[in-house]
């Protein structure tokens, strides 16, 4: 069980060693990175199979031998283990295979992996901040090295927003520390009803929400999303939209549950979620560029997730997890389809005849995204609607109205694309696509004519996601049970506390040989 620490440590080790090893052999260095990812997956699967009790019992892992709250601990429960598994898997899936880049890019990918795992596992407020910063800097760097100078500019704007956000988060942590004098989440949670249930606590929540919200595509601090996703490769966009945003959301939710019991905190998050849904979908409706549309759709979906998590009680938790997991599957798949479809949607005219299977895949994915029964997306939306209607209060009523409207708008623009794809007359594209550079970088500088092709790997991912969606439909019963237990475990404060502090212990002296 202690091996879980290796999920963070081994990628870091690999990241440090890769440039060194690459000096003698680049192949070995690359293999090193990949093998660390496989080892990580192996470790998690091993934990999963070895201790079947993880389903029922969470574990707290002490780092440095100092029991919390003095030391830092990792908290492993179902949801963090799930995401810890998702991190290496998705990094592996969206590994920048085809790009002949420097070894340092792989190194950055490993750092991203480590920080993502650390973020989801960590049980210490400041440790979360450190991993969050590491995640941020790794992603700024990864965005900035995508070749084009526009990526650098987008990344710089992202960096400004992210840094100001994390400064705000640090401010929130400082306020919490002045109130409680501790940083361990379980300990904070123990003290929260007494110490943080006031205006200062709420203020620190607002600050932390803003800081983490930058990565989580929370409403006002997400203006980086279209710029960054528009200028990076689909692989990275898929990773960022699919995985990193969800990690930040889950951490926010964990903090919310453990630290901030106030209803105002929920309302604030819900309000921002609603605004995110509304603006995201509205702008996506206008967008004429495929990737830009996906980015704004992602903003909208994240808004839905925030709205769902702002519903108190089990229903909201279930809805939030369901939408988050669903989006985590679908959006990367859509970005993978975007590998061949970058550029204006008008250029997609007649695509359906050239690649009917891909279009069919696209339709299945967006149907699920829209929440058309019986695809999994529907059940998530259904939970959200039921949860919203179960609450009184302005925010939730507003959500009841906005969410369906947003879905209608989303449907309108997504099916506009489908109709364009099935159009017969593709003789005259409305705009020229001569400047598109696709992921495979098949660029001929002579007349900048581009061959756009889906990467086979991306298609395979999209197809397997679609298959997974259908498999979930066939296994609705177990899936919903699993969801319920995830939600229960995530929303149980006392469970968290009692896991980290099995007995109220006096801080045990470390035996010194």
């Amino acid at each position: 069980m202690d091996n879980i620490v290796l999920l963070v440590v081994l990628p870091l080790l690999a990241a440090f060693l890769m440039p060194v090893v690459a000096r003698s052999s680049e192949v070995v260095a690359r293999t090193l990175g990949l093998s660390v990812l496989f080892i990580s997956i192996g470790i998690i699967l091993n934990v999963w199979s070895q201790s079947g009790q993880i389903d029922s019992q969470a574990v707290s892992i002490v780092i440095g031998g100092f029991l919390p709250p003095l030391g830092i601990n990792f908290y492993v429960d179902q949801i963090s283990l799930f995401f810890a598994l998702a991190v290496p898997v998705m990094v592996l899936l969206f590994w920048p295979w085809h790009r002949a880049t420097s070894i340092r890019e792989y190194s950055l990918m490993m750092l991203l992996t480590a920080s993502a795992s650390g973020l989801i596992l960590s049980g210490d407020l400041f440790n979360i901040y450190v991993f969050y910063e590491l995640l941020g800097i790794a992603s700024y760097s990864l965005v900035a090295i995508q070749g084009r100078v526009s990526a650098v500019a987008a990344s710089f704007r992202y960096l400004l927003m992210g840094s100001v956000g994390s400064v705000m988060m640090l401010l929130g942590i400082a306020i919490i520390y002045t109130q409680t004098g501790t940083l361990n989440l379980a300990h904070l949670s123990l003290l929260a009803p007494e110490k943080l249930n006031n205006m200062l606590g709420l203020a620190s929540f607002a600050l932390i929400l803003t800081g983490m919200g930058v990565k989580a595509e929370l409403f006002p601090v997400n203006s980086w999303v279209p710029e960054v996703y528009g200028s990076v490769s689909s692989n990275l966009a898929a990773l960022m939209a699919g995985l990193l945003s969800k990690l930040a959301v889950i951490v926010i939710v964990r903090l919310l549950i453990l630290l901030f019991p106030q209803p105002e905190a929920l309302q604030l998050m819900g309000m921002l979620g609603i605004l995110g849904v509304l603006t995201g979908e509205l702008v996506a409706w206008r967008s004429r560029d495929f990737v830009r549309m996906l980015s704004f759709s992602s903003i909208g979906q994240l808004g839905l997730i925030f709205l769902a998590f702002s519903i108190p009680g089990e229903m909201g938790m279930m809805a939030g997890i369901a939408i988050a997991l669903h989006h985590m599957l679908v959006k990367p798949a859509l970005f993978m389809l975007a590998t061949g479809w970058r550029g204006a949607v008008e250029n997609l005219s007649g695509v359906a005849r050239r690649s009917p299977f891909v279009v069919l895949l696209f339709i299945v994915l967006i149907l699920s995204l829209l929440g058309i029964p019986p695809l999994p997306g529907f059940w998530a939306k259904y939970l959200l609607m039921v949860g919203l209607s179960s609450q009184d209060g302005f925010i939730y009523t507003l959500g009841m109205i906005i969410v369906p409207l947003a879905m209608v708008i989303e449907m309108a623009y997504l099916f506009k694309i489908v109709m364009i794809m099935y159009r017969k007359d593709n003789d005259e594209p409305a705009v020229n696509n001569s400047n598109i550079v696709d992921d495979s970088n098949i660029v001929d500088d002579s007349n900048i004519k581009v061959v756009q092709k889906h990467s086979k790997w991306g298609l395979a991912i999209a197809a397997s996601v679609a298959a997974m969606l259908i498999a979930i439909v066939l296994q609705l019963q177990p899936a919903s049970d699993k969801l319920l237990s995830l939600a229960n475990q995530l929303s149980d404060r006392n469970y968290y506390i009692s896991t980290v502090f099995p007995q109220i212990h006096t801080v045990r002296m470390q035996s010194i040989k």
């Binding site: 440590v9 440090f16 031998g65 750092l111 210490d124 800097i137 084009r148 501790t182 200062l200 550079v437």
Partner: protein, 254 residues
């Protein structure tokens, strides 16, 4: 419009934060964590400098993360500045490298003299980090400065990046390996190790804190090499001016 909005938000925020600050305690914060660590650190990790104990022992993984952040930043800077639009041999950039004048003889000599001294000071600060104020970070910065000063006074000097790469990789790995060493003994990751060789001295002496000085050494070397790397990378960028805007093709091929 934007200025008005900016002033409005900043002013509002100033007011609100001041109000928030008026609720904050001053000088009597609840120090649960601090008190506990102050009480236990001398006994548990044998460091006189409790900040070092917090950094390396109690919150060791924070420090690891921090080192990774520096590493990431250095790698990112290296990759961004490695683009050919920023290389001195790039077509769009004139040969501006040599525009910086060689410093005078006195400066050069002085720097050459002062460099070993700085190195010694840096290592001293690192090694005594767990005993007195200072430690890996401060010492690392001094090391980086010491390394970089000769480059500064001799513009155009080509630095072999290999040394820095090697050093930063090995120092970072060293930190992790010390942590993994504990796991090898079935202890949690990063647990300080005290055995007959390490950490037998009395509190306040150099060999008192188990494996912590090793960690601090790793931190110092890591910070030093990263910062030196940063400085060197930036120093290799040619001077840009309005006239030599590079429209170098955007496809990054290395």
């Amino acid at each position: 419009m934007r200025n008005i909005a900016g002033l409005l938000f900043a002013g509002g925020l100033a007011f609100l934060l001041l109000v928030l600050a008026s609720y904050l305690p001053y000088g009597q914060t609840p120090m649960f964590l601090g008190d506990a660590i102050l009480a236990h650190a001398p006994g548990e990790v044998h460091t006189a400098n409790i900040v070092a104990a917090v950094l390396l022992a109690y919150r060791g993984i924070d420090t690891l993360g921090e080192l990774s952040i520096l590493f990431t930043a250095a790698a990112g800077v290296g990759l961004i500045l490695g683009h050919r639009s920023l290389r001195s041999d790039s077509a769009g950039v004139n040969g501006a490298v040599n525009s910086e004048q060689h410093s005078g003889f006195i400066t050069t000599r002085a720097v050459d003299l002062i460099m070993p001294l700085l190195m010694v000071v840096g290592f001293y600060i690192i090694f005594y980090g767990h005993v007195t104020p200072g430690g890996g970070f401060q010492g690392g910065v001094i090391l980086a400065t010491a390394f970089f000063l000769p480059v500064l006074v001799r513009p155009g000097t080509r630095i072999e990046h290999g040394v820095i790469t090697l050093l930063e990789g090995l120092a970072g790995s060293g930190f992790i390996l010390v942590g993994l060493w504990a796991m090898f003994y079935d202890q949690p990751f990063l647990q300080p190790i005290f055995d007959s060789f390490l950490g037998t001295g009395p509190l306040g002496s150099l060999w008192s804190a188990g494996s912590l000085p090793l960690l601090y050494l790793a931190v110092g070397l890591k910070v030093g090499s990263e910062l030196a790397g940063l400085l060197v990378t930036v120093s290799e960028v040619p001077e840009l001016s309005e006239t030599n805007i590079s429209d170098a093709d955007d496809i990054n091929r290395k």
